[in-house]
Amino acid sequence: MAHGAGGKASRTLIQAVFVDAFANPALQRLDDGATLDLGTGRLVFTTDAYVVSPLFFPGGDIGDLAVNGTVNDLAVCGARPMYLSAGFVLEEGFPVADLRRITASMAAAAERAGVRVVTGDTKVVQRGKADGCYVTTSGIGALERPVTLGESQVRPGDAVIVSGPVGEHGVTVMIARGELDIEADLTSDTAPVHEAVAALLDAVPVRMMRDATRGGVATILNEIAVGAGLAVTADERAIPVRPVVSGACELLGLDPLYVACEGRFVAVVDGDHAAAAVRALRRHPVSEGAAVVGTVEAGPPGMVLLKTASGGTRIVDLLVGDPLPRIC
């Protein structure tokens, strides 16, 4: 299971199995999507499989998750999301009403994101061979801006921005499983971020973007630091976390920095334009909570350092799998 948690184990699995098997330059970059040059123009192509339990949760369901997730992967690659495919793996006996609900929210999400679901496939497997319903979406987006994004563009002095309060999706889903008897005013943050991304790209020089899904913001910051061979220094107090989320995380023993989001992204921008970047983002509802959380520094290379509220400097490491306490 740790291999899906978005941390070091996922990365190792991806490197060892997939990159190896499908070796090509577009894949090797391990971005959220692949940028392809067709001669007539550049496009971005991405795919994602969605599994979530429960399938329906406050603020969303697996359907809009599957649309928004792929839309966001296209968006943070700098593309305008255009077309999606959708694949379903259904467990025998899965209620048709539930499937209708899921497809309806997919349609609504597609409408909201301005994309069309143009092809798809459905398979049914025996009872017990799947957990209700799995969804896979692939997406194509047009790369219309002449920008180059990626870790290689990042340099010391750049500002690191988070587009909104973190951790809402992961905590919402955990509580929605209903095992814990928690009443909390929480909804998933699932949302398309392509408009906010476009506004940001129009406003300031952007180095790179990532959507902070599995593994949370901490994992993205590590990807930035490792990929760029630079350090990311973040300020714990600057990272936006809603009190209800930090309260729930405290209770559940989770670190919000590692909790999944579905409508948040991390952007690295030219440090001189940090304030303008935040202003541009805050004009969009989906990123009205945007904040500068840290800066890129020359060293120590590959490390994410968090200035804690108590004045120390905590190393924010890439989790290997599910978090296990390190305290003796």
């Binding site: 499983r177 008897d181 559940l252 400097t313 989790l319 390190r326």
Partner: protein, 769 residues
Amino acid sequence: MPGTGARRIRVRVEGLVQGVGFRPFVCGLAGAHGLSGFVGNDPGGVFIEAEGEPPMLDAFTAGLTGQAPPLALVERVSVEPAEPRGETGFHIVPSRRAGVTIGLRDLAGGEFALVSADVGTCDACLGEVRDPADRRHGYAFANCTDCGPRFTIVSGVPYDRCATTMADFAMCAACAREYRDPLDRRFHAQPVCCPACGPALRALGADGAPVPGDPVEVAARWLEEGRVVAVKGLGGYHLAVLAAHGPAVAVLRARKRRESRPFAVMARDAAAAGELVLLEPAAERLLTGVRRPIVLAPRRPGAPVADGVAPGGRDLGVMLPYTPLHHLLADRLAASYVLTSGNLSDEPIAHRDEDALRRLRGVADGFLVHDRRIQVPADDSLVRVFRGRELVVRRSRGYAPAPVGVPWPFPRPVLACGAQLKSTFCVARGTRAFLSQHIGDLENYETLRSFTEGVEHFCRLFGVRPAVVAHDLHPEYLSTSYALDREGVDLVGVQHHHAHIASCLAEHGHAGPVIGVAFDGLGLGDDGTLWGGELLVADLVSYRRAGHLEPVPMPGGAAAVRQPWRMAAAWLDRVCGDASPALPVVARHREQWPVIVAMARAGTNAPPTSSAGRLFDAVAALAGVRDTISYEGQAAAELEARVDPAERGAYPAGLVEGERVVIAGGDLVRGVVEDVMDGVDVGRVAARFHRGLAVAVVRAVCAVGERAGLRTVALSGGVFQNTVLLEAVVSGLERERFEVLVHSRVPPGDGGIALGQAVVAAAHDRLSR
């Protein structure tokens, strides 16, 4: 004058022979036997050539071991014949450095010298400092061949002034004369100095600006006014306040962001220490010995120490001055003072001047500093006394880098990276394992840096180029990722509790197999779950998990470590389920309790653990001792402190004997719950729990021992810093006629892990060759 029968020998002495007055001793010994020749240091130890009558030469070589100075540790003396030269006199010659002197093997080749730990000020030096007629009267840096800074000022080998931070100071004529005089106490004492030529004190205000006047006088006045003073000592900066000054202690706590972890107190002398704590003879020996650790001893009722110094504890940590500076301050104050490492909570001790001034600004109201650089940071060591012997809890200044000798040679040089909290590392080659000083919690960047710098320094100092690198199995320990990032080495992952037991075996030179009881907070098991109450059948190569404490979920993972009441919820639910009684601890956490229980039941972020430390936490919370902690092991330490020694009862605990022997911790919890419901005094509850757990451990060991045919037991893990439990377990095992190995010089906690990893890695290395 060499007679006609004169012979010449070439002698090599290995061991801890540098920085301990060895060369002057050799000169004296040679003189006493009428020999000519020379002695010097090289990276491998001491080299000697001596010429004279054969019987005298024999007596001389015998004396090298037999009469060596008290701080020296002669491990090997090898003698070979040489061509007589007919010279006169016996001299100390300049040191030979690796790579410079022809004929010396390269550092990696096999020879290396030992660097001495720092040594507390000797009586002779102290006498001079206190003598108004002496030229070192009131001098904070007096030292001689018998005492003074060593490890903390050494930057390289061989041990010579130019390879220490004393290289910054040129000796005056008077000091040079002492240094060169074979009859002087300071003959070849590398850090020799005096007020005319050596380091000097300065007092600085809160803003770092110099303050006029005698610096010790200024600092003493500040302390008397209730201010916090940063004092640059031997291994780093400390923060000081008067121990009896309640408000000052409170201010120090607030500024240091250290809620309740006890502070250590420096007393002027043993008599003054005796007014603070009850000193049994062994404790007094440790207190006054040359290592000068902090000694934990029962606090005397009515001791003139503010409550905030060591809240919640029965013991108080005391130490005696170990440099002239600390003596001067203590003499001037005529009162004990708190001396705690100069850092914010969790950071390593500050030791570089600029860094210290920056980090301690706003914490200290003034600074008492000097201009001798600290090369290597070292915290004060911390020891307890168990059955008249020392039980080192934190091994640092005064102990490191003394090697742990093991009877099994390391086939190739080893680096062991240790654990995560209270981390130390270990480099080893030959038959010696150099366990580092206490580094601290690796979650901090500053600590990680001091770890990596420390590893490099040790490798340089002891000529170790690691070929084998050992690490914990926990993939997220930063020590593990440090190990995994090393290239061109053989990696050996060592299970945490196996390393604990191996550290105990190494300390005793015992190769096993033994029944290892490893009780600690948490360590990753080979099944991916968190262990911590383990019975292993182990030798150096391998182990088998033969038994353990009943596992329970840790609701919230690390949050359950910070909040022992969560462990109380998990255990109470395990034992009583829906019929859980309305204990006070339940009422105190009424709102969150159902969620925590639900997390435990559903396994939501609630990894199972067999940890003994977490069982102590649960009992501490159930008994009303402590619900949340602000430092590691706090709840367990306070539960131990509450034990009523007069209580003889013990909660009965069952054993479940299947493939493994499982101690039913739930039975102990049931006993606690029933007594708490009946209003039994917490002291008796604490005692019955300790004694009940000990009985259960002894029974489990008997069961494992019978099956495995073993009669020797090794006790390790941080829980065995608890001397109440340790005593009960050891005496119980002795009644069952087991041979019991317990820690003394190597910490039972995670500070000893690196040593255990090193010997396990070496055992694997031996097998694979």
